[in-house]
Symmetry: none
DNA sequence: TATGAATGAGTGTTCATTCAT
DNA sequence: GATGAATGAACACTCATTCAT
């Protein structure tokens, strides 16, 4: 998933800094944005506060971004690079389906937990801003599509319930994990991490009809 | 689910109208609110527009509500009464677990579909307003608790996988259905209603380990 | 020349006041606008100052006008009604061409002089704002067209140089008077009112080839 | 008409470049200013854009000019040199009054037409900036003074109406030509170039009482 | 109860100008 | 001389809320 221009363009996009100082300022603004967004939420975050937190003048914000939406997009990009962990199989050496699902679930939850505030923020902004809503749905689809592939292989090998629609199943189970991560880390519902992982795993296994590996 | 004061109180709560005229005005405002909210979203809805849509003067809004949050709460109450369909078993005469789950899923999705715009609105407001966020989580929990009860009985009768944590399982599967309803009706993702119901049912059955009824 | 919507529309036009108080406020704003515009010029006039001069809150401006352009248009309308003096012939009883031209020139100059500051303002805004520029050209054309009619009659009666193009002549001579009024009242050039009227009259007479009335 | 410091002085005037590079940059800025002014008008022209159009950094503008007014003054100077065509009599060999007036009118209109955009700009700035307003009035006066001289000679020779005030007449007729050039080239009013010249000439001739040359 | 005009706090945004490199 | 990033003063405009009629 490469860096991608989240905002579809429109106004004259601001500069990409050429000097060292410019790069530093831009980064300071993004870091400050993260701080302010996490503290105040997207709606209450004022551009002035972001500039102030970055230690620059109010107007300097506009050297790099047109508005709140644009700096949020930049923040999303930065964080997504941090959160990306593809090639699970190669990294872990795990090959049996149950092990892979368990590893994927744990990795997803850990990653979500490390960035819980930000993830809550993304959920929020997705509900507020059309562009980010679409982005979120698309990313979810792409993720589910990879899982759908796995389900298809398992079905082909006779290891998974052949009656399941691979894509809708993948979407459903991914949606479930995503939402439960939210309830655990953001809404702080009252169950343990262990209960969570164990139950999610078991639902995946049962739902797909995976038998325990010998 | 009784009428419940969503907003924790605070300002002098506005009147509950006694005169016929007052009742009419209040209802007109709520209807107008639904219209404006669905059209503009919660954030962009202006109190002025709600009054205008209701055909009353700007100031009249404050005879009945203190602010946007309060009229939204009133709207939520009205709609929830419309959406409530308890006692599924008694109403349908269905008794086998798979039949009940199928009926519940279908009923939930239909109901969601009939009020899709509003449901999207609720999701949005839950992400914006703390009070509604809590309300949403609580309602979800209550709903899941009922499902957890069902899972416990099935486990007790040896009809469901005894390894599952009943509450977390219920939460997860409910969350899954809720999110998929959103993706189908609001995000309008590209799969059919039939695929949706069939897949959700099958995931429930498999996950719980329900065998087909003889 | 009827009241005419100078601004071609666009944004939701503000209210026309229903209550007495509203009418008073709107008028106070227009009067204040005249004051501020005359004092500071169009460009330097701040909306805040207009509100302040009218003795109302900053926001109240926007109850009646969308922006500076719009209140200026309202001001133009008001003043134009004041300045309108048609039916010169009927009012004065003058019938001979030279007498009519003399009366018209004097009336125009007097009227210009009474509103010199505002006339300067109109010139300024016409150079700044496309809409008012067009308005000015149109009004000038309409005025010239009436004069062109007069020239045509004189030519038909053999009293005016038949070689002259009536419309272009009328435009030219009107433009001349308009510009000289500006130079006399606004730029305050160094010649007397009497020199001005006498010379303008004589140029008109000579240009049209009018002989002195017996 | 020599190069003349239009702005009355005040801030430390910027450098007059010595190096070839400096001269080139200064010229590039003036050319860019003309471009931007003609495209955006005086008010909307941003110094940033002038620098950009000249292909130099924002800050470089201030090496040569203090502000927009100053570069506009420089532009005026350049253009006025281009537009100057004195000594009409000597250049054309024309000597009879009607011929000279005709030649002068044609020359003025042609010249105006070649620089219509800039002339419109000058009109605009004269209405916005006190300094340029005065400049415009002065130049007009100087021009009219030359015409007044001509009128005086004609009167002395008995060739022109002796009743006319030479200066006010010259001012009036010049103002007329100037304004009509504006209406023709800038406002693009609907009459032909030929109508224009013929009518203006005839008004001059008639107004002054010039008989056709034998 | 209804009206609708008045209020005014609150922030985003622009852009001329400076100055360290 | 040139660069381009940083500065920050300055204002327009919105809209929830009040309150006299």
């Amino acid at each position: 998933m490469e860096s991608q221009d989240v905002t579809g363009g429109g106004r004259p996009s601001r500069i990409t800094p050429r000097s060292k100082r410019g790069i530093r300022t831009r980064q300071a603004l993004i870091a400050a944005a993260r701080e302010v967004f996490e503290r105040d939420g997207y709606l209450d975050a004022r551009i002035t506060d972001i500039s102030k937190a970055a230690g620059v003048a109010a107007g300097s914000f506009y050297t790099y971004f047109n508005d709140k939406e644009e700096i949020f997009a930049a923040l999303v990009e930065v964080v997504q690079e941090e959160m990306l962990h593809p090639h699970l199989r190669e990294r872990t050496g795990v090959t049996d389906p149950r092990g892979l699902i368990d590893a994927a679930n744990r990795e997803y939850l850990q990653s979500y937990g490390r960035n819980a505030r930000l993830m809550a923020l993304f959920e929020q902004v997705a509900q507020i801003d059309e562009k980010f809503h679409e982005l979120r749905v698309e990313r979810g689809s792409a993720f589910a599509e990879r899982n759908a592939q796995m389900i298809r292989s398992l079905q082909a090998r006779g290891e998974a319930d052949p009656e399941l629609d691979p894509l809708v199943t993948a979407l459903s189970l991914s949606a479930m994990v995503g939402r439960m991560a939210y309830l655990y880390y953001v809404a702080e519902m009252d169950f343990s991490y262990d209960q969570l992982v164990t139950t999610l795993n078991r639902i995946w296994f049962n739902a797909l009809g995976l038998r325990p590996s010998a």
